[in-house]
Assembly symmetry: C2
Homo-oligomer: 360 residues x 2
């Protein structure tokens, strides 16, 4: 079988040329006689891989020496704990913009260790949109305000970062490298790799060094301390070496494609192609409010669950997989990260139009 068109929300499609480069080197990396999987993380070759990967990401995001990049494990879910444990103390005020399920999980986790307040919350409106944050209402003593830059399940996204006078922390798992933000505005941003960065099992943390504290609460597990990982260049213990290498190949691909600005342009074009169909359809109904629409995850509904199931099934027969919405929301979701080509989205658009014609 040829390669399918994979609209999965994550783990998600990767560029074929990246996979092919990995394939070529899997038993013998650059003729050195061993796989990257077999390399000591303390070897010169691996040292070069991890440092180049880090430098390329800093280059892509225009980050200077005031920022560090950490390669960790445990996914965004582990960051839900690390952020409050490292950036705040027991009674400190922290703000959460609750714009989806994962945002809410981050908020619930933070309540364990800080005075966490949901400064905005669109749950009553089924997370259909991202509420504005009113800077004038923020207590400036708050340690940080946490946003979820792109809400994978609901298909909503911050088009612009909030302008606030409190340090900004963001879960950028599902739009990092796909949407062009000014990363110097973040105190800290983190991402599970499994969308635009590489394979699951790697978490990338981008952190302004002045927010890395050594005086965290005494009972924080060593592995959950940013200062420990930063001091050890992500090698306090054995890092996920192969996943970091694959991320490095992804970063080279991003640079070759023209960087994040160019990818955002393409992603916008891809997303608009689908939103245009939704907005002009009598069959499909876009889920997210127009002003909050994601360019990474396009969510929509059909008139019945039966029709949605039929849509997913027929798309699969046409070689387009993973279009079923997340179990929390239902409906249809097309995730169109960097690796999904314009041609792939065109194929989906055509399928949607044909399906509408035959199911009026």
């Amino acid at each position: 079988m040829e390669r399918v068109l994979n609209f999965a929300a994550g783990p998600a499609a990767m560029p074929l040329e990246v996979l092919e480069s990995i394939q070529k080197n899997i038993c013998n990396f650059n003729g050195e006689g061993l796989s990257v999987m077999e390399m000591s993380h303390r070897s010169k070759t691996y040292d070069k891989i991890i440092n180049e990967t880090k430098e390329n990401l800093k280059k892509i995001l225009s980050l200077g020496d005031d920022f560090d990049v950490l390669f960790l494990q445990g996914g965004a879910s582990t960051q839900f704990a690390m952020v409050p444990l490292n950036l705040a103390d027991e009674n400190d005020l922290t703000y959460y913009a609750v714009t989806g399920n994962f945002a809410n999980k981050a908020f619930e986790e933070a309540k364990k260790w800080t005075n966490a307040v949901d400064i905005t919350n669109s749950k009553v409106d089924k997370y259909k949109y991202i509420p504005e944050i009113d800077n004038s209402k923020l207590d400036k003593s708050a340690k940080y305000l946490h946003i979820t830059a792109n809400n994978t399940i609901f298909g909503t996204m911050y088009d612009k970062l909030p302008e606030i006078d409190v340090p900004l922390v963001a879960d950028v798992s599902s739009n990092v490298l796909g949407k062009d933000y000014d990363y110097t505005k973040f105190a800290l941003a983190y991402a599970g790799a499994q969308k635009n960065l590489g394979p699951a099992g790697l978490t990338v943390v981008i952190v302004n060094k002045k927010f890395i504290r050594e005086d965290v609460r005494s009972k924080v597990p060593t592995m959950l301390r940013y200062d420990i990982h930063s001091k050890n260049n992500s090698m306090y213990n054995t890092p996920p070496t192969f996943a970091i290498y694959v991320a490095g190949e992804m970063f080279k691909w991003v640079i070759n494609q023209g960087g994040v600005k160019e990818l955002e342009k393409r992603n916008t074009e891809k997303a608009n192609m689908l939103y245009d169909i939704l907005d002009n359809s009598s069959l499909y109904k876009a889920f997210a409010d127009k002003k909050s629409r994601s360019i990474m995850n396009v969510t929509f509904n059909l008139p019945s669950e039966e029709l949605e199931a039929k849509f997913v099934e027929e798309a699969k027969k046409a070689g387009m997989i993973n279009l079923k919405g997340h179990r929390v929301l239902g409906g249809i979701r097309a995730s169109i990260y960097n690796a999904m080509t314009l041609e792939g989205v065109k194929a989906l658009a055509e399928f949607m139009q044909t399906f509408e014609s035959s199911n009026k």
Copy 2:
């Protein structure tokens, strides 16, 4: 260049046939049209992979339904925190057998949350041996006794598990699947994958279900709770999907080789070949005491650091890499995990004899 003989302590050599099988499938797994790296962890295909991997490990270790296998992240270092946080409460007594650097790290971490006592400690003797544990001296109210089954840095190993009346917890990172223990004797055993199990970035936890508690302290991070991962079949969040798949290929290889008993036999033969040279040499001096010798990591010294450096350098020229000892101990270390063939060890043995002849 041909593949080298890789004596790294971890990440370590993998069987070539496993790497080749992964290579074949990297862009298109079993003709399904996508890489395992691109697969949704909720897909049917991936579900089959993770469940088969789990079942194969349980089969290899002869574990019944009273045991669970968890696929986590963060390495043994994260387990150093998870064990005390999940298995004990604030003032509970816990025992640690401190037989090496990592054992000591586990002990130091446990002190943060429990009344941890180092029931044995061979630090004053440079961790040259593994002290006996006297069951009659153990307070039976202790929540567990933690051992490090194989001390990678020092080249020592428990040949037999201690017979004790306190639940036994073990870090088996560097001899799991290479040394045949009765795993039903463990309350919990954990391993970073990067030696005998697969690529770095995966931690395997083998746990007797009756030690999985739901009533852990309220402020334990969600991602550090065994009950959460067990209830969700290691899919509370996105697991390290590719690393789990590779571990699954390793497990199939172990079964094809005849299981752990057979591999232990081979590893013993490999190790004895090297120890015989050390014991009959006037140049080399084995580091570990005879009764505590590891069959996974063979550590030794030469009369001077200069000669040790020369040994490492000349071995490298002969295609044998990563023989330099850990920075904590110095000297030479040959790690000979399951994937290192008898022929590979023979080549090292011959090199050692030739080197001794020319450097008397």
